[in-house]
Symmetry: C2
């Protein structure tokens, strides 16, 4: 069943970098791919029409199980026919398991073998999340790619703590897989066409910054068997060089016949550097969050629209960008909108930033296919370090 | 010169209601027309691409001289080549004179024959606005339709106060016209193609709720001579029946050979009722402001998305609406976005509301052209009073 739910094929390699095709029941996704984050069922500030338009053309976005479980609740999404019908997004969706948010957002966590009890960050309500509840919620959401429920230790967790966490995550991976399979069978038996049938599921490798634990976590996750594998628990405060080390060490060990997903990462340079180390999939809130904070990513580095030097600058945010924002609007205008608190300031910056991330990945894919990834990588990094003129 | 700048033709009448064509240097506008308000150079939450798309197709929007004069400042807009180039909006623009905002937003006003001294509502800066400064600013903005600088008395101004205000407005109308003409000549002499050449200018009728003063104000404004005439100082707190009375009394007396503009009005019913009394043009922040506050205008009246009854309602905001929002999204989803504070809640509601206003005016125009305005008006009012099911 999972073979039907997700197809995967590597079409080109350049060093460790891979160009692939991920086939979901809702369309084909070329990898390496960046997935915009739609926390609560919307990519903040960017309408689906824009995400589908040629300049963005996002093939897959994320939803957050933790957030959607709290608001509007799995029952509401289920009653509306799943997250696709609820939101109106028709392309592929990946949902995370809620694990990361429980550990980063909620209050008064009580962790047990069974799961985690916590207070909601929105209303203080007492909640309980477990591998089973996460799988049931993700079945209700009907995402195309489900993530196993994991425990996320702090980025700087000591060896012993990281090992205990890893083992819990391994047991939770087995329970996730098992409940997921039951739900898929139930859905198939009930003859349901959408929602919780033909979903696929990814396992998550933990182990903090300890390479031996990362290896062990990978082995135990692969032992359970998933449609794809993710590296979790990075970009949580550790040094950038440490993150690159972990990725460089772990990614090539991940099954070549399955997609590799680096969760919650990162900046444009992180994406390119991690592709070079064998990663296929990424997600991150940076393009939209930084957009809301007045920052534009460009081919010559970051541009802060708050800077007075752009007050009457009629050039687009990025002179080499062909996105809808850069084709139409000037730095002066985007700055004006941002400085006066107009909603469209954040909207336009988020759109442009997503365009930059998605276009960067488009260039990455092309360069891998044409065997010119090394050159692309060098020129890209030179560009973004050259400074906005 | 003004004849070139603005063409006007009535193509059909049905009672006092008129269907017309307003020709600006930036396209033809069918009237009666609703003009979305772009206070600071952006219609809050709605991108220009959306305003131009078929479901909205806004042919003309407003800019606010007061706001743009304060931020980013006329010098910045001028340096960027005028408001069209600064914002990226290519269709027609009308700018108000700043008069209304000075009297409604600013602090510590000091009114004199020369103009009005006040403190900016954003930073307390001491500012001075006069007919001349307003004309110079609107020339820098390069709007297609410029408004004369007027004084707005309170809606409930007594007869004597309203008369004094009216007389000041009449003298300011003459000064506005005179400075406007100079600026047009200067622009033409300098061979400028855009910006401050071939603008048109409208005069504003004041007089509060006193019909004799309204008549007098109209006569004195027509005496100066403008490309179009506006009714100002309504919808500022007076009873709705009083507003309709003033419009019913004044609009038919306004020159038939010029467009008639009712400033800052109003609700969908206000629009239809005022068209029935002879008005051609409208602007109002209601669709976007109420959208940001969670209210949707529909063919069956207003819908408050905060109401829990929509929690799992998969129907569109308005079942008879063909806008991009109603074609794609449910009440449940829009409510969810609004309740969780997602920016897109306000964006989608603003879009739908503008679609409703603009589509209502499309229906108004068609019904006038086909001689069925009376029936349309009755059915429309029945519809919006029938209650959202």
């Amino acid at each position: 069943m999972t073979d039907e739910a997700l197809g995967w094929e590597v079409v080109a390699r350049d060093g460790e970098a891979r160009a692939g095709l991920l086939r979901t029941r809702r369309g084909v996704i070329e990898t390496p791919v960046f997935m915009p984050v739609g926390t609560l069922g919307s990519v903040k500030g960017v309408r689906f029409e824009e995400l589908e338009a040629e300049d963005l053309d996002a093939r897959i976005i994320l939803g957050n199980t933790y957030h959607l479980w709290l608001r509007p609740g799995a029952d509401v999404v289920r009653a509306c026919g799943g997250l696709h019908r609820f939101t109106g997004w028709r392309r592929a969706l990946l949902t995370d398991s809620g694990g990361f948010q429980v550990f980063s957002l909620s209050h008064m966590r009580k962790l047990s073998e069974e799961g985690v009890e916590f207070r909601s960050h929105t209303d203080g309500r007492l909640c309980f999340l477990s591998p089973e509840v996460s799988m049931e919620t993700q079945a209700a959401l009907g995402s195309d790619i489900v993530m196993a429920f994991d425990e996320c230790p702090p980025g700087k967790a000591a060896h012993e703590a990281a090992r205990a966490s890893l083992e819990l995550t391994a047991r939770w991976a087995r329970r996730s897989r098992s409940r997921f399979d039951e739900l898929q069978r139930e859905g198939a038996d009930a003859g349901r066409e959408e929602s919780n049938t033909r979903q696929s599921i990814f396992g998550i490798v933990q182990g903090a910054t300890h390479l031996d634990l990362r290896r062990e976590s990978l082995e135990r996750t692969v032992e359970v068997g998933f449609d794809g594998y993710a590296i979790g628990g990075l970009s949580v405060g550790e040094e950038k060089s440490v993150m690159y080390d972990v990725v460089e060490h772990v990614a090539p060990l991940m099954p070549a016949g399955r997609p590799r997903y680096l969760m919650g990462v990162g900046t444009p340079e992180d994406l390119v550097e991690s592709v070079a180390r064998g990663v296929d999939m990424f997600d991150c809130v940076i393009p939209t969050r930084n957009g809301r904070n007045g920052q534009a990513f460009t081919s010559r580095g970051r541009l802060n629209v708050k800077n007075a030097r752009w007050t009457a600058d009629t050039r687009p945010l990025d002179e080499t960008c062909a996105c809808a924002v850069c084709r139409r609007h000037s730095r002066a205008y985007v700055r004006h909108l941002y400085m006066t608190g107009e909603m469209l300031g954040a909207v336009l910056l988020s759109h442009h930033n997503l365009a930059f991330f998605l276009d960067t990945m488009r260039c990455v894919r092309q360069s891998i296919r044409s065997g010119e990834f090394t050159r692309f990588r060098r020129e890209f990094l030179e560009g973004i370090n050259s400074g906005v003129g």
